[in-house]
Symmetry: C2
């Protein structure tokens, strides 16, 4: 009897995931080359299938499955994958059901308007144009927090959406330590006399040559083209339709090869994660990353800890030089390595280097935390923002377009999302420290033998998909709770050496 | 009240069509570059969405809509598009409901097995391996005919699936006349002394150059790249996701440019049809071709009546020569024109030229008709096939792999489909004759001014989508019922001139 309901439940979930696979393919298609005039009708179809999937997740049928399979004595009889799936479905069901339908509809309409207003406001560097929308979005989010409930800080329930189990109490400690050590380092670097020469980075590097270089690189990194493909887009992304179809996209800038090279290695890190999720999880919501932050840990690990490692370029720099001989003539490996690891405090998050990036995140984290503690309001944001940039990065935005208006996130109500980016660095550094106990990473990179590294990540991270919470995953993989120490240590060692401090 | 049900019905149908749009995108993706290892899971999702769409078409809800909107007095109040949509839905509902569910499931399983057995049998040229499956498929189809009912000949109900309103009574007349005139012409051509030299066709023509030539050509033919894209596949096709997203694919053979050039013009003809279906039909089953044959009339019109026309190459041959100067050095326009219109009776339908192609179809038509009249059985097919090839084309297959086993259609139960291919030629010739009353086609082709031709086709064919039955469409567009005369006249004039008969 239980077995039969369990099977029906899994079939039901599989269908829901099938909708998501179709929707994801439509998104991929829209972003990689769908004919422009077909976009409107395609968006309607995406909306229709999304509604269908959403309705399934909050239906009476779903409620009945949850009611029948959750009781003690029955839950324990379920297969492990079913139990995790049930937990995920329950969590989504409860979140979605707690918000009154009419209120949620108003909120969706507001956000879709807000995004275009935000775009205009950013273009005009006019925060006041966006402010009334932002105020309403924050109001809605505060009410949602009330519906959902929370433990400790109200912001915790927002964090939990993207990073299950993460709390203000934990983040305050982790980000505090990070700030304490990284801010002085950034200031010391800004004052250092021996700055890298980066002028050679901006020579013309034809797109076809970049692509040829990258295709070879992706194969060496272990990206399986039997389970993926590389396309071009304006905003690069990785998208897992299922673990056997995980696509990546990139953007080529002929006057800055770093855009495509580091962007592609980054997306490759995301893709390797999803390509190696256990096949037993396919057809459930578990066949995805454990959290936004864990996903980002994989892309950042590949982009920075592999892709900006000296040993990696010992092997690949001569090959890169063959693709653009004039550009790199007379540029030594060491000069190249220093240039691609340049540290330079800047105003724009998405253009930031590895060292200053977490500081951009901490600014946003502190602001969001204060907003949902009721300590500040939307109207305070420009001033608070500018002061924090001055404090942490030593630079002050000259207008809101390069300040508080730069990110799309808040216009869509994505509060609680930003910390995942910085957590990604922290997770990555802790994974690195653990895997280096078993593997000589520098030697493997010089040999081009990425497989043992990828296998370690698969064994300890990838295969579990969403069956573990991020903090448990880190503890199981590294034998320790999450600490800021490993990221601090990694950054200090690397950048003190580069800047001879 | 009626208005409200009408709106609900249209919403319901729109959702069903949304599924089909998603399914079609998944098919396009599978055939143009989806990662190989993801195919299995993708096929499951396609199956799931297809089942959903099928269930909607045969649901109690659909039955209720039909019951509520069909009665006299109500039906007349409906919008015209709704009336046509209702008719289509009713037709599909009744067809699908008449077959017992269990029997249909057995049939689907049989067909999916039969296709792989057919592939093996064809590879081994062993008809007996495929025969037991074919026998069962025919048995099922004969029972289906019983369920569906028919007027006149039992085969009529099969024809009606692909060519609404078409009957054996009509086809016997049309195909009979065609045979009577074309068979002697083919024989005369085979015996002609002045055969075209085709040797220059097979020089190496690099793929990139073919593609560049074709991209320019497609724009001149009126293919709107804002509503479509050109990709590569093994088996070329056109697919309309909606009238604003109609994609085509092609295959490049570097040793025979004709594959891509004429293949692409053919698919362009299909695509122009769907790109110009009236926007009012989007979201209904009417936003597609009137029938298989009418669809084929558009592709064949472009491929042959435009793409193999002397005036067309007067304009484009110099451009083609620039893309492959060595290949065409010393080849006159006349020699080129004769070569691309070579007639040569052959065993394989899909390789046949414009003149002999209809004969391949007539062979299949006669066989299918006899099968469903109970005059022959599966076991008789190889002999009947070979005799008919000898009779009509003057050549006899040396084994069943190039004979009765060559087409995939029967393994999937697609009986009644083949006649549409030959009807496509007939429709096209009759459209040509009618539009030539208003337009100087030869002059327009020389000027590269395709627009008036495409506009005539849009006004008389494209825009109606599936709102007219093929025979009505032909009568309305040309002022006459369908006749074989125009095709015969076109073929005789063209090929007598080319072969100096």
């Amino acid at each position: 009897m239980v077995k039969r309901i369990e099977e029906q439940f899994l079939q039901y979930v599989k269908k829901m995931m099938g909708y998501h696979e179709a929707i994801n393919l439509m998104y991929w298609d829209l972003r990689t080359g769908a004919p422009k005039k077909g976009v409107e009708q395609r968006s309607e179809v995406i909306g229709m299938l999304s509604e269908e999937a959403f309705n399934m997740s909050t239906s009476e049928e779903m409620a009945a499955f949850i009611a029948k399979l959750s009781p003690k004595g029955i839950y324990e009889q379920l297969d492990e994958v079913t139990r995790h799936t049930l937990n995920e479905c329950k969590k989504e069901y409860e979140r979605n059901k707690k918000i009154p339908v009419e209120e949620y509809k108003q909120y969706v309409v507001l956000c879709s308007k807000a995004e275009s207003v935000w775009e205009e406001a950013r273009a005009a560097a006019d925060f006041d144009r966006f402010r009334p929308y932002l105020e309403q979005i924050i109001e809605f989010q505060r009410r949602f927090i009330g519906y959902w409930g929370y433990e400790g800080h109200p912001y915790n329930t927002l964090l939990d959406q993207y990073e299950p189990g993460m709390t203000v109490e934990l983040l305050d400690g982790l980000f505090g330590q990070l700030c304490e050590r990284i801010v002085p380092l950034v200031h010391a670097i800004s004052a250092a006399t021996d700055q890298p020469d980066t002028s050679f980075l901006f020579a013309t590097f034809p797109k076809e040559k970049q692509r040829a270089f990258l295709l070879e690189l992706l194969v060496e990194l272990g990206y399986d083209f039997g389970k993926g493909r590389l396309d071009e887009t304006i905003h690069p992304f990785a998208i897992g339709l299922n673990p056997n179809d995980v696509r990546i996209t990139t953007r080529y800038d002929e006057r800055d090869f770093r855009t495509a090279v580091f962007g592609t290695i980054h997306e490759c890190g995301h893709a390797l994660y999803e390509q190696h999720i256990s096949a037993t999880l396919v057809g459930t919501p578990l066949a995805s990353g454990a959290s936004m932050g864990i996903h980002e840990s994989q892309s950042l690990f590949f982009e920075n800890m592999i892709g900006r490692h000296l040993s990696f370029w010992k092997r690949h720099y001569p090959r890169l030089q063959r693709y653009a001989p004039e550009q790199f003539a007379g540029v030594s490996l060491d000069a190249f390595y220093r240039a691609i690891n340049e540290v330079k405090p800047s105003l724009i998050r998405i253009e930031a280097d590895e060292l200053t990036y977490p500081l951009h995140i901490i600014v946003r984290y502190e602001i969001e935390k204060q907003l949902f503690a009721g300590e500040i309001e939307a109207a305070d944001l420009p001033d608070v923002w500018n002061e924090k940039y001055e404090q942490y990065l030593g630079i002050r935005p000259h207008n809101d377009s390069v300040g508080v208006l730069q990110d799309v996130h808040w216009s869509g109500g994505s509060f609680g999302y930003f910390p995942s980016y910085a957590l990604g660095y922290m997770y990555a550094a802790q994974f690195k420290q653990a895997l280096e106990k078993e593997l000589d990473v520098a030697r493997l990179l010089e040999e081009g033998n990425i497989t043992p590294i990828r296998e370690w990540l698969t064994a300890n991270v990838h295969r579990f998909g969403k069956t573990k919470k991020p903090l448990d995953l880190v503890r199981d993989a590294t034998g320790e709770p999450l600490k800021a120490d490993y990221l601090i240590q990694y950054l200090e060692e690397k950048y003190k050496a580069i800047y001879c401090l």
